[in-house]
């Protein structure tokens, strides 16, 4: 593998709230290679979004990236970067796409304003040139009559179009990495298809790396090169898509796969993971999944490490192979 675009090691992002310390992300490691799409999967509250925001340095108080974490973009350490440098990186080298397309664009500013300001935030170019770039970006994501669309306000767009505008904004500076946080969850299947199509084409054509966050394994199954499964602030399994889907090693991953309804499940009970995600405020010692795990053993009271059980296929489970 060539040098990764992004390399995250031991990322720990904690929220210091009045109820206690919420360890939203607690020791996450992964790399993203150039042009690679990494699917980050996990149930609600498992820390996917926080991981994304951590990479962009957008954690608001009371949250903080804890000492000892490391996020490297092409070798540059971001956790130690100055605010100005971070600002320069955001939007230019790392871009982000948010979940809800209805909320990510400022409703009172025209689309051109929101695009031009992004161009000008990182490049000293004239308005006209910024506009030309913006137009080009809209064309790239397949928006028809871009000139007209530029002069419109977000509310005049459908959800799918808005999400495409958001992607266009992310593309303006040809970033090395795009963090897409559930960008299709709020959209229809047909529109989701369009967005997935754009994303795929993009990475293929421009070599941009992407982290695609979702809670729906099915979405990333056909898209991602590799999949990372998160649970309670940690990555519990990571590997090539085919490996993870077809030969999952962590019981949680298995549970997830089993709970996806499909043709084959018709008339049957879906497999379901019992119980709920434990509160991040008081995680039990050891494996945080043990209370819901069908195959938990005594050993699970100590935290397992993320171990490469097969080539390129890592899992954080004592019984990974046994399962």
């Amino acid at each position: 593998m060539s040098t990764p675009t992004l390399s995250v090691t031991n990322l720990r992002t904690h929220f210091f709230t009045k109820e206690g310390v919420a360890k939203a992300v607690d020791g996450v490691d992964f790399d993203v290679a150039p042009g690679e799409i990494l699917g980050l999967v996990g149930e609600s509250g498992s820390g996917k979004t926080v991981t994304g925001f951590s990479i962009l340095g957008l954690i608001d108080p009371p949250g903080r990236i804890v000492e000892g974490s490391s996020i490297r973009l092409n070798g540059e350490e971001l956790t130690k970067a100055k605010p100005d440098r971070l600002r320069a990186i955001r939007g230019a080298e790392i871009a982000m796409i948010f979940q809800d397309p209805m909320m990510t664009l400022n409703p009172v500013l025209r689309v051109d304003t929101q695009m031009i300001e992004t161009v000008q935030a990182h490049l000293k170019v004239s308005r006209a040139e910024a506009l030309a770039r913006s137009r080009a970006a809209l064309v790239q994501v397949g928006i028809a009559s871009p000139d007209e669309r530029l002069r419109a306000y977000p509310h005049q767009f459908s959800g799918g179009m808005r999400q495409r505008v958001a992607i266009a904004i992310a593309l303006l500076h040809k970033p090395k990495l795009i963090v897409a946080d559930e960008p299709t969850t709020a959209l229809d299947v047909t529109i989701q298809g369009q967005i997935l199509f754009e994303a795929q084409r993009l990475c293929r054509d421009s070599g941009t790396s992407m982290i695609w966050v979702t809670h729906d394994l099915a979405v990333v199954a056909g898209l991602a090169d590799r999949i990372a499964v998160m649970y309670a602030g940690r990555i519990v399994e990571i590997g090539r898509t085919a490996d993870v889907i077809e030969r999952p090693m962590h019981p949680y991953t298995k549970g997830l796969i089993g709970s996806v309804p499909s043709q084959n499940t018709r008339g049957h009970k879906l497999a379901q993971i019992p119980g709920m995600t434990p509160s991040l405020l008081k995680l039990p010692a050891g494996c945080s999944f043990k209370s819901r795990c069908p195959i938990a053993v005594e050993q699970c009271n100590t935290m397992p490490e993320l171990v490469e059980h097969r080539p390129g296929h890592w899992a954080r489970c004592w019984r990974a192979i046994a399962a």
């Binding site: 957008l58 982000m96 409703p107 992004t118």
Partner: protein
């Protein structure tokens, strides 16, 4: 748009009819205008004559019908007290009130908006808490008290105590210039000086309101996804606060301020009384106390129209500020 205006005007007409009927009944219930105005030396016969000449001898509903009939033809009656068309009296006074309210709005915005946004950005800071506590005083101190205090302090005490402290005029309107046939004092130094204290009195309340509103909306807008997205785009903090946040804050501020503008115009009564400001609020107050019904009715008519126009402007402004709003759909 046209429909919208027409709908508004129809509602205004309705409100006017009800309002004038209420005023007729109300003044009738308060007392006898003639008893207020005529010389106490006058005999009953002379009083009856005056009543007849002012049309007050007829049954109330006849008086009202006569009024409506005349009003439809554009005649809103003559002031009992001044003998002049009530509308004319009010229009004479209107510029003074408008410029007072306008100036105070400017002051309130200039002071209130930055303070409110600051308090919204740093809600836990000492500065924010001071601002918020101060703003409570701003809208809870009675207007007349603030006005009189300002007069005492800036027109009397400070200049007396500190030699060389500029003495602000305590009352009345300063030199005026004629702008398109309207007398305005906004454009002369003397005029502005006279405006200062009364405008400040009015601005205190408004400013307090703006501070609170700005803070509240800032707190609502800041956690929005689009603010975070703006950060993710790498925009500078200045642009985020100054454009993305501020433009969203301006929507409620503009709406509320527009409506408050109307309220202030309508009820600048107290400030005008305290500062002997020759505006229409003072006219209204005097007219109410002297039961000068035509003026009160005409005044309220004007205010209704004024509110309608203002609402319209506010809605227009609203649709300019907030592109999501289409006027037709907000027709209430």
């Amino acid at each position: 748009m046209l429909v919208y205006i027409i709908r508004r005007l129809m509602q205004a007409a309705l409100v006017m009819v009800v309002m004038s009927a209420l005023v007729f009944a109300g003044i009738f219930m308060i007392g006898d205008p003639v008893a207020m105005m005529i010389s106490p030396d006058a005999s009953d016969i002379e009083r009856d004559a005056v009543r007849a000449s002012l049309g007050l001898d007829k049954p109330l509903w006849l008086q009202y019908l006569a009024f409506v009939n005349a009003a439809v033809h554009g005649d809103f009656g003559k002031s009992f007290l001044a003998g002049q068309p009530a509308m004319q009296l009010i229009f004479e006074r209107m510029p003074a009130t408008l410029e007072l309210v306008f100036f105070s709005t400017v002051i309130a915005l200039a002071l209130g908006l930055p303070m409110g946004v600051y308090a919204g950005l740093r809600p836990k800071s000492v500065g924010a808490k001071t601002i918020m506590t101060g703003s409570i005083l701003g809208f809870s101190l009675p207007n007349f008290w603030v006005g009189l205090m300002l007069i005492m302090v800036f027109a009397v005490l400070l200049p007396d105590l500190i030699p060389g402290f500029p003495r602000l005029p305590a009352s009345g309107r300063g030199a005026t210039v004629n702008v398109l046939g309207v007398r305005l004092s906004l454009f002369t130094a003397d005029g502005l000086l006279h405006l200062l204290l009364p405008a400040l009195t009015l601005a205190l309340y408004k400013g307090a309101l703006i501070v609170r509103l700005a803070r509240a909306t800032a707190r609502e807008v800041l956690p929005m996804d689009y603010v975070k997205f703006a950060r993710a785009k790498g925009l500078s903090e200045n642009r985020i606060v100054g454009v993305h946040v501020l433009k969203n804050i301006m929507i409620p501020i503009a709406t509320v301020n527009g409506l408050e503008f109307g309220q202030s115009v309508a009820f600048a009564v107290i400030t005008e009384t305290v500062f002997a400001w020759p505006g229409m609020g003072k006219l209204l107050l005097d007219s109410i106390l002297l039961l000068d019904r035509p003026v009160v009715v005409a005044y309220l008519m004007i205010i209704v129209v004024f509110f309608v126009v203002l609402n319209l402007l506010v809605d227009l402004l609203y649709s300019v500020l907030d592109p999501r709003v289409r006027l037709e759909s907000r027709a209430t």
